[in-house]
Amino acid sequence: MGKTITIDPITRLEGHGKIDIFLNDDGNVERAFLSVPELRGFEKFAEGRPAEEMPQITSRICGVCPGAHHMASTKALDSLYGADPPPAARAIREIYYNLHFFEDHVLHFYILAGPDFIVGPDAPKESRNILGVVDKLGVETGKKVIDIRKKARALISEIAGKTIHPVLGLPGGVAKTLTEETRKDLKKFSLEAIEFAQFTLKAFNDIVLNNRKYLDLIESDIYYHESYYMGMVDEKNLVNFYDGDISVINPSGEEIERFRPSDYLDIIAEHVESWSYIKYPYLRKIGWKGFIEGPDSGIYRVAPLARLNVAKGMATPLANEEYGSMYNRLGGKPVHNTLAIHWARLIEILNSAERISALSENPHITSPEIRNMNFNTPSEGIGIVEAPRGTLIHHYKTDQKGIITGCNLIVASLGNSAAMCISIEKAAKKLINSGKVNEGVLNMVEMAFRAYDPCLGCATHSMPGKMPLKIYIRDRKGKEITTLSQNLTESGYT
């Protein structure tokens, strides 16, 4: 075995990761691995917590997509308590969720991934970032990006308290009504947001699609791999982020599964490797066959391109037109080009802006009826949403008082964890020959994971067992002073 190249840390993503590339004696890539050096244990320490606190606790899995965990958790609480939210609460949640999608996708395009295209994949590392993007597109564009995100996040804060780590969700409802004034602000914002999304799509067209070099890159086999896809669809088979069935298609585009949240364990299983703290989900019926692509491997992909691949189209008119253009240009469905995830993400930005516009006209949205408190005795609840980074599943078991006894999370970025390994290994093998490697080439290897917009913090949240909550209070030498259990009176504090 020859040299080993390590990229540490991989950058412009959320969370920790490193890539090890092993070269053989000829300087060609033997193997490449994307490993995640972190494990935090959210599922484990969820035990003992009251279920209603989970939307706020699990949002701390990820500060980039806190809205996604918050919403999956809130829907799991609806299911746990058997309480569907009233129409106003549902509309408020959905408008909030589309705001979150909008600002999160915008962040990814301009700040995390955009530098690779706008500044250039092999530009010097000092300029390959948002500051380089602003240099290239002009300060006015930079200000436009900052301005639209600022407005989106101010509205999120108005609706959900905090932007990062919201406090909106309760079982069967939301915490706060939406005022007529906010509704008008949302409408006004949505029109600007639609315009901004179109501006961004145009920039993508001008800078990326009209540049032969970039288009070749998108279409090249460096960033191509065939897989299954998973995503949520509404009753008309159109993309939906908040609610619906989950559809799975095979690499030829045929639907092979369609399931409700409660059946997720029949569809998805997770595999463990010794060299990463991350787990690798796969389609249970096809099975784990290793890190290989194609129809024989149970590895599936999630996130924007997967959602568009499984659906028949977008639920909003302008986004649906863009949907048509993308598939026309890339030769029909499904698209397997990993870098096309960026394009799909921009179409979703437009979709979310249009959804905000439509929801702001929902006649229920300003109703004071925001809570359904007709609760069943809790025991188990499952909630699924599409997070910006893919299908996100929260599954809780509780005692009769609603205290968590078991928690299982299949997090969006995990859905792509195996696919990302294949993508980076494939890119490394194609890009590195005879030991010739430089910083630009290594960044192009990183582009293979960056398209997925992974959130490795999410992916290492990590699970259930059973233990009564009991805390020992010790002195400095470790001697036990007292015990704190569910009953505070034992603590001697009173």
Binding site: M1, T11, L13, D20, F22, E30, P37, E38, R40, E43, K44, G48, R49, P50, E52, R60, G63, V64, L107, I111, K125, V134, V139, K143, I146, S157, I159, G161, T163, V167, A175, K176, T177, I268, A269, E270, V272, E273, S274, S276, K279, R284, W288, M373, N408, S462, M463, G465, L469, K470, I471, Y472, I473, R474, L484, L488, T489, S491, Y493, T494
Partner: protein, 322 residues
């Protein structure tokens, strides 16, 4: 004048602190023009080797978020400390351990077992566990060691300032950057937010009587909270009295009680202080009556130490309880 060099790094954290830096919005371009970033994995492409190559003490200020939960995080935190003149524990996790430090109420073995062996979605017939060293196709791969305890940053390296919040607000971050550039940072060791209780700036404070008693504690989903009234008066547990001011009361404006992310207002133990506050307002003349009221607190540890388990008098779960 040379620009101040800034490093931003993360440990056992969620990225919210990094995102909050992006959220200083209009000001970020001005600030970015006045400083030189040398590390910011979330947004920039500098690798750790770039930091290793810098002379010791070369970085003006490093903003480190997240507690320390594994050997890799410890190594990077020590590296950054060595290369930096000043280190700021940025956010609740770096200062007090944050939400992830609730893991200290469990043990690592339980965590591994439940995550990789017993999880309802895992298929692991060979009982594979992640290992510090493994060999695949002749390639040797390494992983850091996960610690049994999550440590707050100053348990591992020296820290000069603490910026509270989960995450810190854009205003506090902007203020910190301006002081870094223009000078005016307080004495070392300071917590960079007002040293007073959140109640002082709470818009609902006027509805809190000087003296009141509550005869039960409700859970947040059990009632429809009045959007104007003090949560404690409504029988809901609000951590405001024992929590530091400076967040702008954003949760309270969202009609949800404070959960304590800004940490203690002074050097006290946040949970103990809250328990003291409750002691003065809970009605209960007999022990059994007091027990009944206190039983309403469904999760004492997760309520009083949601963001500060690593810094609390609770310590951690006893290791012999494995």
């Amino acid at each position: 004048m040379t620009k101040p060099k800034i490093a931003i790094s993360w440990n056992s954290s969620c990225g919210g602190c990094d995102e909050s830096i992006v959220d200083i919005e209009d000001k970020i371009l001005d600030i970015a023009a006045k400083v030189e970033f040398v590390l910011w994995p979330c947004a920039m492409d500098f690798k750790y080797d770039h930091v290793r190559a810098l002379p010791d003490g070369d970085i003006t200020v490093s903003l480190i978020n997240g507690g320390i939960q594994n050997s890799h995080q410890e190594e990077i935190a020590r590296l950054i400390r060595k290369k930096s003149k000043t280190v700021v524990a940025f956010g609740a996790c770096a200062w007090l351990g944050g939400v992830p430090s609730l893991i200290n109420l469990k043990n690592k073995e339980e965590l591994f077992k439940s995550s990789y062996l017993e999880s309802i979605s895992v298929e692991n017939p060979r009982k594979t566990l992640p290992a510090i060293k493994s060999k695949v196709d002749n390639c040797t791969l390494t992983l850091p060691e996960i610690y049994d305890t999550l440590y707050k940053l100053d348990d591992i390296i020296g820290v000069d300032y603490y910026l509270p919040g989960c995450p810190p607000t854009a205003d506090l971050i902007t203020d910190l950057f301006l002081k870094l550039i223009e000078g005016g940072l307080p004495e070392k060791g300071a917590v960079l937010a007002p040293a007073r209780s959140l109640c002082i700036s709470c818009p609902r404070n006027e509805t809190k009587p000087d003296n009141f008693e509550i005869d039960e504690i409700k859970r947040i989903h059990e009632i429809i909270a009045d959007p104007e009234k003090c949560f404690l008066v409504q029988n809901l547990l609000c951590m405001g009295p024992s929590t530091r001011d400076g967040c702008g009361c954003s949760c309270i404006k969202g009609n949800m009680p404070c959960t304590g992310c800004f940490g203690p207002a002074d050097k006290s133990d946040q949970g103990a202080k809250m328990i003291g506050t409750l002691g003065s307002i809970l009605k209960g003349s007999t022990e059994s009556e007091a027990d009944r009221v206190i039983d309403g607190i469904a999760d004492p540890a997760g309520t009083f130490y949601r963001y500060s388990t690593a810094a609390s008098m609770l310590g951690r779960k006893r290791k012999e309880d494995r």
